[in-house]
């Protein structure tokens, strides 16, 4: 596996500062599973130095990798302004994705921000499986790709903090309500969550309290993405440290220390 040089096919502006990069020439990533990620560099000098990790949003036909980005810093800002034709360097697929749906479990996906990407990928990949997606944001204009979610067949629930769309409140409130509504408090439910770390913590607490299976897709400071720099350490019960890039980014919530 090596970095492959390719080009940006399309840079699709969405609402709320989000955008989707469609990167052609990514047949090497075609076999990626939801939750896996790529390391991406643009055509810039030696600054920013390090590639950036991005969960795959989907693999479209013809080897087009799609990722969902929100501008937060220098790397993402450079991607935001990258026009079609801009050179891209892509390594992947990396990491361990979400395990496939289990026959006896309902999957409740809990998404916030760019965390929507791997979960939407999951829903699209496992069309037909009993999947629900609870999607939280500050306000209606921070919600993206709603049509795609609906098309995936996942049952969508939206929670916005200002109540401008869906239930008013945090995504975790919507989650609790949904779990309460499900038979046995959601005992036959598996939680899959990706989003800001406060959200991950809250979902983890709910899973612990209700003794639910729970898989979290984590972020971490990454330099290499391949298990070499030891930067992306996360403290776990099974070992002092595991690594987001090699052992994750998807972790069993129960194993996190």
């Amino acid at each position: 596996m090596q970095y492959v040089e390719t080009q940006l096919s399309e840079n699709v502006r969405l609402a709320g500062g989000y955008f989707v990069l469609r990167i052609g020439g990514c047949t090497h990533v075609s076999a990626a599973r939801p939750g896996q990620f790529v390391m991406l560099r643009g055509d810039w000098g030696r600054d920013p130095l390090l590639p950036r990790a991005f969960s795959l949003l989907r693999m479209a036909a013809g080897g087009v990798a799609e990722i969902l980005v929100k501008t937060v810093g220098r790397g993402s800002a450079l991607f935001e302004h990258a026009p079609p034709g801009a050179r891209m360097f892509v390594l992947g697929p990396l990491g361990v994705g979400f395990p496939a749906p289990q026959a006896d479990k309902r999957d409740l996906l809990v998404a916030g921000g760019v965390g929507l990407a791997p979960l939407l990928f999951f829903a699209e990949q496992h069309r037909g499986a009993p999947i629900e997606l609870i999607y939280g944001a500050r306000s209606e204009r921070d919600l993206v790709l709603l049509d795609d979610i609906v098309l995936s067949g996942a049952e969508l629930r939206v929670a916005t903090e200002d109540g401008s769309r869906g239930v008013k409140g945090l995504v975790t409130q919507a989650l609790e309500e949904r779990l309460d509504a499900l038979a046995g408090g959601g005992a036959a439910v598996r939680l899959l969550c990706c989003g800001p770390s406060a959200m991950l913590d809250a979902v983890r607490a709910i899973a612990r309290a209700r003794k639910l299976d729970c898989l979290l897709s984590l972020e971490g400071e990454m330099a290499c993405g391949i298990g070499a720099c030891l930067g992306c350490a996360v403290a776990t019960r099974s070992r002092p440290y595991r690594y987001v890039c090699k052992d994750g980014p998807v972790f069993d919530a129960g194993d996190l220390a």
Binding site: Y3, G220, A223
Partner: protein, 305 residues
């Protein structure tokens, strides 16, 4: 034109001058399938201590302009774990095995040198002296010439393997430090380790690295590393130098050779591109061919100034 890339360093022949730098190439295995390990002149392991270490809390790394800061905390599997789990693979890689080591005390250094030096398949021992000396209030072992000389001499007595001392750049006079290491019996010097640095998250009002300070590496430090290699080379201490700091291309490698290094190490760039070491070796060969340099050793110290 075929270029002869072979070099002898500290008495050990290498197929080419490119060595993967300690702490940036795991134990080699991590790069299997990502690059051709046999294309490397050598491969230096993560720093090994007598006992395994879990390393520092996160965040351990952050990016800076054309560089990064790390404070991994010298996480490693320890001497025993290394001998059992890591060395067997390394011996099959078709490249020279450099083993980087350190201790928290004088005795730990000596114990490490002795134990690692006794393992078959270890070609070069590289001593990391940028560790805090607990006895001296946490000042690095490598900044005080007499302390360094004694430490190197003690390790020297503990093993017959080629012993290379990796210098810290956090000093006023790199030549004085280099001389002390050579007086202690070093067979070669690796120059430089990371530069002590800090990054602050202004919004959170906290250092970006859990431990506050960390070590700066990457292209940002190359001009400082090159200066120090040149200073030490010019001092003519009679041991070969391994140049390190921000090397990312064959031309970068050539610059260090011209300054006086006879091997070079590629560190942070392996994070940017796992194939970097092999690529630098290819590019160095192409550079030599383009420049009509038949033997890469002809570049060593060939700066005109």
């Amino acid at each position: 034109m075929t270029v002869d890339l072979k070099v002898t360093f500290a008495g050990v022949d290498h197929t080419n001058p490119i060595v993967a730098a300690s702490g940036t190439f795991g134990y080699g295995k991590e790069f299997e399938g990502l690059t051709d390990l046999s294309a490397l002149g050598g491969l230096c392991t993560k720093g090994i201590s007598p006992k395994p270490r879990a390393g520092n809390p996160v965040p351990r790394i952050c990016e800076t302009a054309a560089g990064m800061i790390n404070s991994i905390g010298l996480e490693n599997v320890g001497v025993e774990g290394f001998a059992r789990d890591k060395l067997p693979f390394l011996r099959t890689c078709g490249t020279r095995v450099w083993v980087n080591f350190f201790g928290e005390t004088f005795d730990e250094y000596v114990a490490c040198a002795s134990a690692l030096g006794a393992l078959a398949g270890v070609d070069v021992l590289e001593m990391n002296v940028s560790c805090p000396n607990i006895k001296k209030g946490g000042v690095e072992f490598g900044v005080d010439p007499p302390v360094l000389r004694d430490l190197v001499a003690a390790c020297r007595r503990a093993t017959k393997r080629p012993l290379v001392v990796k210098l810290t750049p956090n000093v006023t006079d790199p030549v004085a430090i280099a001389r002390a290491a050579v007086e202690g019996g070093a067979d070669g010097l690796s120059i430089i380790n990371t530069i002590t640095a800090m990054s602050i998250d202004a919004r959170r009002r906290r250092p970006r690295i859990a431990t506050g300070f960390g070590g700066l590496s990457g292209p940002a430090i190359k001009p400082i590393a090159l200066r120090m290699v040149f200073q030490v080379a010019r001092a003519g201490l009679g041991v070969p130098l391994s140049g390190i700091g921000g090397i990312a291309s064959g031309e970068d490698a050539a610059e260090f050779l011209l300054a006086g290094a006879s091997t070079v190490q590629v560190g942070t760039q392996s994070f940017v591109d796992p194939d970097a070491c092999a690529r630098v070796a290819r590019e160095l060969a192409a550079f030599c061919a383009e420049q009509g340099v038949e033997r890469v050793t002809d570049l060593v110290g060939a700066l005109e100034d």
